[in-house]
Structure formats: structure tokens, C-alpha cells
């Protein structure tokens, strides 16, 4: 049985339908990410699971029990907030003890548990500090410790890494994933960063305009996008609309091909039987370090993005420059059919 069952969940703010008839099952112990652009409804779904927003319609069940309209303090879920929401007047230890205190855990026991939780995020030396004396990364860890100390069935994380700089964010991604695996807690993670989502998640739920576009493993949503939106939102995609595909490729459905799956060859060179090629002119060649990004203009105004990994030094391989006529080649099996 799914740990969380969401059925036909709907929520409007004024005239805006923030969440529009969403259904989703979350399995015990999984790391599931709600991914989408801002305003796509992912945070609203999270807030409804937490109990901060009351759904207009639909049902949320936790472990088989209907929690749709329960207040937050009666739900066995905890949240890590985007800006951490640490209590500014309480020390680190008081912050972490807060939830234990409302549960009437005796003083000695709650100090023990709080200090163990703070140690698990490696911040023992900060127990007596106030939140404003911590760095952003430290606050983030304390917010995590404060939620984990309550051993919830489900931990909800609302863009918890959004305010951290890139390096720290990547460290925390690894650490969060480890904590989740060790503790065996179900994580529901909200982010708009597709790389972060793919790096950490067992499954990704792609949101757009209040609806779920696709649910699947990172590989599934990347390699088999079911909508144009998913293809474009996760990584870069060259999308041939049905019209373009029939003109250029001779097929009749919408397809998508990733830039890194296309290679460039000089005109007139040989290709395999299992491959497709179209001819175009290089409009732009941009060196971005590890890769060079080519924009190829083909017939009917279709533009292709091609990514070449720079395995050789620049100029030491047969690299093309803007203005060259080239063949863009890809394996037929690398083309993703988009059903809608």
C-alpha cells in the first residue's frame, strides 16, 4: 500500500487554480521530487500534505488514514522550510527540542535526542548559538535536524537548498540523499532545479500549471518524456512538432532528440543504416568549457541544438565553425516519441 495517497486534489487561490485535480501515490521509503517551474503548484501540494493549506476538493491519505483536513500538529509529517524558519529567539538546541517539548518528552530525554540529532548533521559545537550566528548552510542543517529528531513517517522539503551557493548545495544534495537512505524516511522534495531532482530522486513528478505532466524515474522522464513540456523542462530537447517531423524526417508524430545524442559530420560522409541525418548550416558555435554547443539551422526554419563533448583540445579535432554546412546525425533508437 502506498504511504501517501493523493486523490483528485484541487486548490484555488482566488481565480487561480494552483492545483488542478492531482492524484499521486507515494511509496514508503522513497525519495520523490515534485519538480516544476515556479507557480506550477508543487509547493501548494507539499503545503497541503503538511496541512498548511486546506484543499478545496480531493483526498490525502497517510498510511491509509484520511488526513485531508487535519491540522498540521495532528499529522505524522514534518517540514523543512525554504528559508529554514528557525525560531530566532531560541538557541540551536532549543530549536531542535521544540517539537519534542510540544510532545511532552521529559527534559533530559529531549536534550539527549536533540544533541544526537545536531551531532548527526555535524554541528555539535553550535548548540548554544542563536540562528543568526550560523551560516546559511549551518541553518539548513539545523532545520533538517529539527525535523528529523521527531522521526516523522514523511519529511517534506520545500526547496531547502535554494538559498545555498552552488558548491554547498551539491554537498548537501549528497548528504540529504545519504540521510534519507540511512533513516529510511520517505522524502517529498520540492525543487525547480531539474539537475537537483535527477541527482537525488527515486522518482520525479513533473508539474506544470497545477497539473502533473509525468511521473517516473529520472531516466524515464529524461529519456521518455510524455509531453513537450517534460522534454523541454528536463535538460534541453530538440522537439520536432508533428508538422516538422513529417517534412524533415518523414514521420508523423512529435519527436524529441537530445543535443548530446546528435553528432556533426562533414557533408557527403557515410552514416549507418540505423541512423538519420539532416543537412544544415552552423548558425553559432559556442565553447562552454566541457562542451561546445552548436546551433544548426536546417530547412523550414527548424533549429537544432547539438552538444559536443570537448574530448580534444580546441582546434585539434575536426571541429566545425559558424557558417559550415554539416550533416546532423543521430541513431534512430535515440529519438523519443512524444505521445501528446
Amino acid at each position: 500500500m502506498a504511504l501517501i495517497e493523493i486523490r483528485n486534489l484541487t486548490k484555488s487561490f482566488g481565480n487561480l487554480k494552483a492545483v488542478d485535480d492531482i492524484s499521486l501515490d507515494i511509496e514508503p521509503g522513497e525519495f520523490i521530487t515534485l519538480l516544476g517551474p515556479s507557480g506550477s503548484g508543487k509547493t501548494t501540494v507539499l503545503r497541503m500534505i503538511a496541512g498548511f493549506e486546506d484543499p478545496d476538493a480531493g483526498l490525502i491519505k497517510l498510511n491509509g488514514v484520511d488526513i485531508t483536513h487535519l491540522p498540521p500538529f495532528d499529522r505524522d509529517v514534518n517540514t523543512v522550510f525554504q528559508d529554514y524558519a528557525l525560531f530566532p529567539h531560541m538557541s540551536v538546541q532549543e530549536n531542535v527540542e521544540y517539537g519534542l517539548r510540544t510532545r511532552k518528552v521529559p527534559k533530559a530525554e529531549r536534550a539527549k535526542q536533540a544533541i544526537a540529532a545536531i551531532a548527526s548533521v555535524k554541528l555539535e559545537e553550535t548548540v548554544n548559538r542563536l540562528p543568526h550566528q550560523l551560516s546559511g548552510g549551518q541553518r539548513q542543517r539545523i532545520a533538517l535536524a529539527r525535523a528529523l529528531v521527531l522521526r516523522p513517517r514523511v519529511l517534506l522539503l520545500d526547496e531547502p537548498l535554494g538559498a545555498l551557493d552552488r558548491q554547498l548545495r551539491e554537498e548537501m544534495q549528497v548528504e540529504l540523499k545519504k540521510i534519507q537512505r540511512d533513516a529510511g524516511i520517505t522524502f517529498v522534495f520540492v525543487t525547480h532545479d531539474q539537475e537537483e531532482a535527477m541527482r537525488m530522486s527515486d522518482r520525479i513528478v513533473v508539474f506544470n500549471s497545477g497539473r502533473i505532466e509525468q511521473v517516473g524515474t529520472p531516466e524515464q522522464v529524461y529519456e521518455e518524456p510524455r509531453t513537450n513540456f517534460v522534454a523541454g523542462f528536463l535538460g534541453t530537447a530538440n522537439i520536432f512538432t508533428a508538422d516538422m517531423a513529417s517534412k524533415l524526417l518523414g514521420t508523423s508524430s512529435t519527436v524529441s532528440i537530445r543535443p548530446e545524442r546528435i553528432r556533426l559530420q562533414a557533408l557527403g560522409t557515410k552514416i549507418e543504416k540505423s541512423e538519420t541525418s539532416i543537412v544544415g548550416t552552423i548558425h553559432e558555435a559556442a565553447f562552454v568549457g566541457a562542451n561546445t554547443i552548436y546551433i544548426i539551422e536546417t530547412e523550414f526554419g527548424m533549429k537544432l541544438t547539438v552538444r559536443k563533448t570537448n574530448t580534444e583540445l580546441l582546434g585539434q579535432d575536426d571541429s566545425f565553425v559558424a557558417g559550415d554546412q554539416v550533416m546532423a546525425v543521430w541513431r534512430n533508437s535515440h529519438v523519443a516519441q512524444i505521445p501528446v
Binding site: A50, T79, F87, R101, T102
Partner: protein, 293 residues
């Protein structure tokens, strides 16, 4: 460079001040310092000195000198001591009632009321500030007078008001000074990030626990700021007692009565509310609540 010379030519005062930080400081502070030192501190100092003078019993004229008689008087005569305690009690009661009303109202306005109702309440709180001080005292007098509104309205229920007395003085002063408590408290509650309320209930706290553990500690600086007004303005007031207190006397009543008869006693007695306020601030400081402001 040509641009530089243009600025030098067109803004001579600004560039002069930019180069002379001392002149800048003097021009900024000379006027307010004249006011604070010249008018405020000097007059308080003169008051303090007067408290050590005495009055010639025959001519009733003030004689400069040095005597502690005035202070001995106000610390030994039971009527003076009782009045000091009564005034302190009234000021503390007014402050306590203001806090008890302002905190729930502030929470309601900041977190529950819709924007229209919130604005209406904010106007309703501040509107009495536009009415004159005496007007409000007379209004309270009319409400609680023998044949006033309160007794008329409550008559069907068999309730009669207490008449002009200490409770009515407390009520009048609360009415007068409530905005000074309500506004800072409301502003402070609005400034609490909404996430803290979510976080508190997320960790199992119900409404009252959140108010007690999160809201109150965070608005203590605002409560102290508001109480400095409600407490010190109540300590110094005498017209509320005079018009709505019946026989009730406050420190201010006695100072007002003595101001022509015996200025040194009035001066000495006016040190009492100052001492109360200083003690009050020291206690507030001791609790540490001013440090996390």
C-alpha cells in the same frame, strides 16, 4: 577630468561637506543637541535643584538653599506614600490591561483578519489619537457619571457602575494610551515571518503554545516599547484622576496642587515617577529582553 570640475562647480556645499566630516557632524547635530541639552536636560536639572530648596513660611516665597526636608516629607507622610503606591498600581494596571488587549488584537489583525478588516481596525485604533486628550477624558466622565450612559444602559440588567473611582481612572487611562501599546505590538506581530507559525504547528504546537513560545518572546521588545508609554504617561497623569476618579489622588494631582503653594515639594514629588520609570527600565534590562531587540 571635465566631469569632475562640473560637479565641483555646481555643488560647492556638498563637496565641502564631503571633505569635512566634522563640519558635517556639527551641522547635523547642532539643532537637536541645543534642544535636548538646552531645553530638556537643563529644565530637568533645575527641577532637581528646586527639590532641595524650601519655602519661607512667612512670605511663602521660594528660598534657594539645601534641604532634604521635601524628600523626608514625601517618604514619611502616609498620604504621600499611599499616593505613590496607588499611582504605581494604577500605571501597572493600565499597562497590564493594554498588553492583555493588544496581543490578541494584534494576532487577530496580523494573522487572521482579511486586508480590509485589518485596515479598518488599524484606523479604528489610531483614530482616537486625533481626538483631544481632554475630550476623551470628558467623554469617559459623561459615560460613567451618575446619570450617564453606562448606568442608563445597564439599568435593565440591574447593574450600576462603580461611580468615579480607581477602576474608572484605570479604564480612562487605558482608553487614552491603548494605541501606544496596540500599534507597536501589531507591527511586531506582522513582522514575524509566516513560516514560523507554520513551523511551530508543524512540530505539534497548537495555537496557544505558539503564542506563548514563539509570538510573545518575539514581541517582548514591542511590548516594552509600548509599556514605556502606557506606564510613564499613566504615572504622570492627573486629569484622568481629577475628572473620572472622584476622590482618587495620583502623584500628578498632588504636584498640581502644590505647584503654586510649595514648588520645592512639587519638584521633589515629581522625582518619584521619574524614579519609577528608571527602575522599570532597569528591571526590563535585567530580564535580558532588551538585548534581543
Amino acid at each position: 577630468m571635465s566631469t569632475k570640475s562640473i560637479y565641483k562647480g555646481s555643488r560647492p556645499i556638498s563637496s565641502f561637506l564631503l571633505r569635512k566630516p566634522k563640519v558635517r557632524l556639527i551641522s547635523l547635530l547642532s539643532l537637536p543637541m541645543t534642544w535636548i541639552v538646552g531645553v530638556y536636560i537643563v529644565s530637568l536639572f533645575l527641577l532637581l535643584i528646586t527639590a532641595f530648596w524650601n519655602v519661607d513660611p512667612f512670605t511663602s516665597r521660594v528660598r534657594p538653599g539645601f534641604t532634604l526636608e521635601n524628600f523626608i516629607l514625601i517618604f514619611t507622610v502616609p498620604a504621600y506614600i499611599a499616593t505613590s503606591i496607588r499611582t504605581l498600581f494604577i500605571a501597572l494596571s493600565v499597562t497590564a490591561i493594554c498588553v492583555l488587549l493588544a496581543v490578541p488584537l494584534g494576532i487577530y489583525m496580523a494573522k487572521i483578519a482579511n486586508p480590509r478588516l485589518r485596515n479598518f481596525l488599524a484606523v479604528a485604533i489610531t483614530l482616537p489619537l486625533w481626538a483631544g486628550y481632554l475630550v476623551k477624558i470628558i467623554a469617559m466622565r459623561l459615560v460613567f457619571t451618575e446619570e450617564g450612559f453606562f448606568n442608563w444602559f445597564m439599568a435593565p440588567f440591574g447593574i450600576r457602575g462603580p461611580g468615579f473611582s480607581i477602576p474608572i481612572v484605570i479604564l480612562t487611562l487605558t482608553y487614552l494610551w491603548f494605541p501606544y501599546m496596540a500599534l507597536p505590538v501589531y507591527t511586531a506581530i506582522r513582522q514575524i515571518p509566516p513560516n514560523l507559525f507554520d513551523a511551530s504547528s508543524d512540530m505539534g504546537a497548537k495555537g496557544f503554545t505558539t503564542v506563548y513560545r514563539v509570538v510573545i518572546p518575539l514581541i517582548v521588545p514591542a511590548i516594552i516599547a509600548g509599556s514605556v508609554f502606557t506606564f510613564s504617561l499613566s504615572l504622570g497623569d492627573y486629569l484622568a484622576a481629577r475628572f473620572t476618579g472622584g476622590a482618587t489622588q495620583m502623584i500628578g494631582s498632588i504636584i498640581a496642587a502644590n505647584i503654586n503653594l510649595n514648588p520645592p515639594v512639587a519638584a521633589a514629588y515629581s522625582m518619584i515617577p521619574i524614579a519609577f520609570v528608571v527602575i522599570y527600565l532597569m528591571v526590563a534590562r535585567r530580564t535580558g529582553s532588551l538585548e534581543r531587540m
